[in-house]
Symmetry: C2
């Protein structure tokens, strides 16, 4: 399509909005994430000579003119503007998470990368907000790298999980790249690689420090707990990864306490998700922290979001003109938009609950009691704000999630949060749809 | 753990096997994939100076000795051997897809990357085998890049989908990297970017060739079909992406045929999976091809596999010694293994159906009528065979899937394919388990 726009001389600027059509059935809200990687992608976006040489061989591009390969692609850079919700912001169906305004070819070519980057991290952050809320004050460590969709997905998942509430990740590369805290415990193979469990435990503590966490279920968790106490080891923690975690944690806690190891924490892992974590917490089991893997790194119950990137306006005769599609069940809403979150004003300060969002034309004034969510993050191809530390995003995210109505946050049968169209947008959308249906060109 | 092995002077060689514990409820078989990227990873695996500088700052490594950072990590290369199933091979629960034998630290450090790389492509290839079998002779194009878990996942998904049956992908970067065929159609934004649909269609065909495919549901699919016929356009295909695809394809076919466009193909897309494709095929709707996105690129109904990478043997006093874990519900099977597929010998030639797999110790002779599935693919850190073209893998995959019993291949309530332990392995496993339970060290 970029070749087509080049061939037909289309250089008009256009705006595309990235939004999720419908929330997954198991989500009452989403948490925006991935913006940082999206911006990095746009800032460094290039076509290499090798890539251009390949494109010359693609049959669908045999009709493209020489200037497309010789001039347009080698010079291609992202020169547009981006408005977006800050990472960690709760977001709902139909609300633009980001808006790109750029020459049509540029804005079109970045579609797939922006969707894949933003939707995946948003899916993981949304899951992490649920899991960590279920854990309450107990830390949740992201453990899911091995089941992620490749190594890049593993790192994105670690980052997104941490910005939405996880305290750390076992993914060391994510620590290197994003500055998130890394944390891990030994694997079963450490135990199996040593001639016996006591040797394995003693050597591990000698190397990694007496406060390290030992995995105790390789052979038998109860025997291992007795072994630790009997040998006078004082690990910082023990991890249970199999069996009945309620019963085992109680039995292990009893053995540790009886041996004077009252400070040794009990961590649990093994196919956990928000529902299992909530059940463990409400059981009163003596569990101090959770390792959660696959459920986070693949957002297992909602592994994709129905996210799209849709043209909403295009320059015609130097004026931005709103456009929409009318496809059955996939109608879009025209024009560049702003999202306003309205809070209960009877609460003073920053603690009032969110009561509704209003989606309005970007140019219009929003509701007087609302706060706009989209800000300009890229101007003429350059980032306008430095990236924020993950810890800062996490704090903001947790505060924003806490201000959502309780019903919207509940883990089953969440209430639908009200998102309404502003009067200006509603009027415009009706006008564009009516013009398209009656002009008889389709 | 690698720091621990270094500190305690452990240089023993060890073998780890990568396998899936249980098939997802919705899969009767899996298709191995991702081996090519796993080998590339091992061949190019390095710790950069920046990464090592970061590792020095990680609290869990404060106890590591100077030699670990100064000598071990900078020189780290993968020097081991890998045995694996060729990509495109049908594989079942408990069967090693690959086995790594290397010094313990090396073999351990590559765990997460191997799992994330192999499991994801295996999940996608397994889904693609189902979707393409449902489509029969009609081509399926992989359309799922935008919903994949990041851009790397998008490319891996395109590759895995194509090696297991898809005819092409819309992911141009996957074409560049892996040589898979790329194919796409215009997006709705092309139509919306032009002042009217006829202009959009005409310009697209002028640039991309008269045989291109036009997306016709931006405003109204029936009107668009009439517009094409009325204007005398003769596109290679039209694509429907919304609405009732059975009814619309019949109505559009009628309009095209009446206008003499009997050669114009009808492609359909829009949240398709193997069940929807099968229903469309059995409806007899005049559909010539399918674009399938999210279901493929995320393996949406089974977005993760319960894959693990487990230590199965370790060198002790110069002898490889089998090991296992006894964790409740997560017991492993010791020793290096080979998988033999036994075919019905009443059929002559290469057409007999597979009747069972036998997992046996790697050194033992397998069943006389069986074919071994694991071959050596990396020796002393170097690939021993060149990578195979995707088209060749696809042909081999489709032939191998066709030899699975029909019940195992059915899309709902698949029969369980028999995988049995060979006599040598069974004897050994019982012996190791018994020794571990009675020695009283755990």
């Amino acid at each position: 399509m970029a070749a087509g726009y080049h061939a037909t001389g289309v250089t008009a600027r256009a705006s595309f909005e990235l939004f999720v059509r419908e929330l997954p059935a198991t989500r009452g809200y989403l948490v925006a994430a991935g913006l940082e990687q999206a911006i990095s992608y746009l800032e460094t976006w290039r076509c290499t000579p090798d890539e251009i040489a390949y494109l010359r061989t693609v049959p669908a591009l045999h009709g493209a003119d020489a200037g497309f390969f010789d001039d347009y692609l080698p010079r291609l850079r992202f020169t547009g503007d981006v408005w977006a919700m800050p990472e960690g912001t709760p977001v709902f169906a139909g609300e633009p998470i980001l808006r790109v305004t750029a020459p049509l070819g540029e804005a079109q070519l970045v579609e797939t990368a922006l969707l894949a980057t933003v939707l995946f991290q948003t899916a993981v952050a949304s899951k992490a907000a649920r899991v960590t809320e279920a854990a309450g004050t107990r830390p949740v460590i992201e453990f899911g790298g091995r089941r992620a969709h490749g190594m890049e997905a593993a790192m994105y998942a670690a980052r997104a999980a941490c910005l939405a509430g996880c305290r750390a990740t076992s993914n060391v590369d994510a620590g290197y790249r994003y500055g998130v805290t890394v944390s891990g415990t030994m694997a079963h193979s450490w135990v199996m690689a040593h001639p016996d469990e006591l040797t394995a435990f003693s050597k591990y503590l000698a190397v990694h420090g007496a406060q390290s966490t030992l995995v105790i279920d390789t052979y038998d968790s109860i025997d291992a707990a007795r072994l630790i106490v009997g040998a006078g080891l004082r690990p910082g923690g023990v991890r249970l990864d199999s069996g009945d975690l309620v019963d085992l944690s109680r039995d292990v806690r009893g053995i540790l306490d009886a041996g004077g190891l009252t400070d040794t924490q009990i961590l649990v892992s093994g196919d956990l998700d928000e529902h299992k974590v909530a059940a463990l917490v409400s059981s009163g089991a003596p569990i101090d922290g959770f390792g959660v893997g696959t459920a986070l790194s693949t957002s297992s119950d909602a592994p994709s979001l129905s996210g799209v990137y849709k043209l909403v306006e295009i320059e015609r005769a130097d004026t931005m003109t709103p456009v929409m599609k009318l496809s059955v069940g996939k109608r879009t809403c025209p024009a560049a938009k702003q999202v306003w979150r309205v809070f209960d004003s009877t609460d003073s300060g920053d603690s009032g609950k969110a009561v509704r969002d209003v989606v309005e034309l970007a140019g219009e004034a929003g509701p007087a009691d609302g706060a706009p969510l989209l800000t300009c993050v890229v101007r003429r191809g350059r980032r306008v704000q430095p990236g924020r530390p993950i810890d800062e995003i996490r704090s903001a995210c947790q505060a924003a999630v806490a201000r959502l109505p309780d019903g919207v946050r509940q883990h089953r049968d969440a209430r639908v949060y009200p998102v309404i169209l502003g009067a200006g947008l509603e009027r415009l959308a009706a006008g564009v749809a009516s013009a398209l249906s009656t002009r008889g060109d389709g």
